[in-house]
C-alpha cells in the first residue's frame, strides 16, 4: 500500500465512522418511534425514509446539492453559521449519512417491534419512567437489530458513490474516498492501483463482518437457552 492509498483509506474510514455515529442516535429514535406509532403518519414517514433506498443515488445527491448549495435552503443556514460544506469531507459524510440512514432504521425498527410491549408495561409498574424503561429494557433487548443496522449503515457509508460525487466531488486528498478512487484510477487506466484499493475494501468488509459476529456471539450467551 502506498502513502496515497493509506490516506484514502483513512479518509474513507473517518467519513464512514462520523456519518454512522451521527445517524446512530437519530436512527434509534426513529426506529423506536416507528415501531410504537401507527396509522397514516407512520406510513408517510416510512415511505420518505425509504426513498434513498430506491432512488438512484445521483438523484439523491442532486437533491442534496440543491438544499446545501449557496442560496439553498440549508446552504443559507450553513453560510450564516460559517460552516463550509460543499466539496469538503463533511459533504461526503452528509451524503453517506443520508444514503445509509434507511439501512440503519429498518433493522432497528424491526428489533424494537419484537420487544413485547407488556414487558415495557411491567417495567413501568416497577416504578421506572418511560426513558429508563427504554434504556434498561427496550435497548438491551433490541441490541442485535441495532448492531445489524449499524453494520449495514457503516458498510453503505464505506461504499457510497453516486450521492457523494455530486455533493462533494472527486477531489484527491479532500473528498476522494475508496469507492471514488477505484473509479478514478480505472478511468485513467491504473487498473493495478485500483485493484490494490479493492483489496483494502475486501479486507475492511471482512473485518467488519468478523467484529459483528464476534460481538453477537459474546452477547448472545447470557439471554440464550440453558448453557
Amino acid at each position: 500500500m502506498t502513502g496515497e492509498d493509506f490516506s484514502i483509506l483513512l479518509l474513507t474510514l473517518r467519513v464512514a465512522a462520523v456519518s454512522t455515529v451521527v445517524i446512530l442516535p437519530l436512527g434509534i429514535a426513529a426506529g423506536w418511534a416507528l415501531s410504537r406509532g401507527g396509522g397514516p403518519v407512520r406510513h408517510a414517514v416510512e415511505t420518505v425514509l425509504a426513498l434513498p433506498l430506491v432512488l438512484p443515488p445521483t438523484a439523491v445527491g442532486l437533491l442534496l446539492l440543491q438544499l446545501v448549495r449557496p442560496g439553498g435552503f440549508l446552504g443559507r443556514l450553513l453560510d450564516r453559521a460559517g460552516v463550509e460544506l460543499l466539496f469538503t469531507w463533511k459533504a461526503v459524510a452528509l451524503a453517506t449519512a443520508v444514503m445509509s440512514f434507511p439501512l440503519l432504521v429498518r433493522p432497528v425498527r424491526a428489533a424494537f417491534a419484537e420487544v413485547d410491549p407488556r414487558l415495557l408495561g411491567v417495567a413501568r409498574s416497577l416504578g421506572h419512567g418511560p426513558f429508563a424503561v427504554f434504556r434498561r429494557v427496550a435497548l438491551p433487548l433490541a441490541w442485535r437489530g441495532i448492531l445489524a443496522g449499524t453494520m449495514l449503515a457503516f458498510s453503505r457509508a464505506l461504499g457510497e458513490f453516486g450521492a457523494t460525487i455530486l455533493v462533494a466531488g472527486n477531489i484527491p486528498g479532500r473528498t476522494q474516498t475508496l469507492a471514488l478512487a477505484i473509479f478514478h484510477r480505472t478511468q485513467i487506466g491504473q487498473d493495478g492501483a485500483a485493484l490494490r484499493l479493492v483489496g483494502v475494501v475486501v479486507a475492511i468488509a471482512f473485518l467488519a463482518i468478523l467484529v459483528t459476529e464476534t460481538l453477537e456471539r459474546r452477547r448472545a450467551r447470557p439471554s440464550g437457552a440453558p448453557a
Binding site: 414487558l119 411491567v122 413501568r124 409498574s125 416497577l126 416504578g127 419512567g129 440464550g224
Partner: protein
Amino acid sequence: MMGPSGAGKTSLLEALAGLRRASGRIEVSGERLLDSAAGIDLPAEKRRIGYVPQDSLLFPHLTAEENVRFGLAKRGPAAARLFDEAVGILEIRDLLARYPATLSGGERQRVALARALATRPRLLLLDEPLAALDVALRERILPYLLRVRDEMRIPFLYVTHNAGEALLLARAVLLLRDGRVLGSGPPSDVLAAHRVEAVDPGASFDNIFDGLLEKKSDEDGVGRLVTPRGADLLVPLDPSFPLGRAVFSVAPEDVLLSVRPLDGVSARNVFEGVVAGIDRFPSDAIVHVTAAGLPWRAHLTAGSVRELALAAGRRVWIAVKTQAFRRLR
C-alpha cells in the same frame, strides 16, 4: 376475580396498573390514581401497583437477581432489606444467578412475584399466576401466596378460573361477565349464588375443606380434619406438616357417587347426602351434593348421570379415599 374469557378481567387489571387507557375513577386506599373528571391520571410508575401476569414476563436479558432488583434503588440498606425479604419469602436464593430461560415455570412465577413484592406495592395484581402450572406445582406455590397475604400484608387482586383458589385465598370474590360485575362478596356466597361453572365454562372446581387437623391416635399416616360445620374427614397425615388449622382439597374427579348405601368399600370417607343440583355440559356434569353437612362437587360423565337417574333432591352416598385429599396449607 372470576369470569369467562373476554369478561374484561385482564383489561381491568391493566387499567388499575395504568398500562391501559381508561376513563372513570380509580382510588386505592384513599388516593386517586385516575379521575377523568378531575384530569388526574397517574402514570404506571407512580401508582405503586405490582403486576404479575400468567406468563411471568421476566426480563429475558437479566438474571433472576437483576429481575428482582429491577424496581429497587441501586444501593442502600432499605433496598437490601426489601430484596432479602422478597427473596426469603419466595425461597429463590438458589435461583438468583440464573437467567429466565433456564428456569422452570414455577420458578419463574416465584421470581416474578419476588420482583413485584420487592417494590412494596400497595396492591398486587395477579393475573392467573398459576394457570400455566400443573396441579402439583400449583399446590407448592399457593403457600407462598398465603405468606404474601399473611406475613407481608399486601392486599391482592387475583384472577383465577379455579374456585378452590378463590375459596382459599380470597376474602371477597368479584364475578365479571361482558365487562360487568355479576356478583361480589364473600367467596362462598358468590360461588353459591351464581354457579360459576355455568357462568365460566373454563372454571375448575376443587372441593376445599377448612378445619383443625388432629392426629388419629390409633393409626399412623392418617389424620382427622375436624370441620366447623360438618363431619370429621379422614385425611393423610404428613409428619412434616404441623397439626392445627389446615386446608385440604379434593378433585371433583375423586368423589364417587352411589345411589345405594355403600358398604364394604375401601374408601374411608363415606357419607349419605342429597343432590343439591346438577350443572350439565355436553359430555359431562358437575353434581352438587350436600353430605355430612358439607358441600361436595363430583365430576361425572353425562352417561353416569343418566344411568344413575340423578336429579336434584335424590338421596345419594359419596365415597372419597383418604389419599385423594391433598393438603393446601
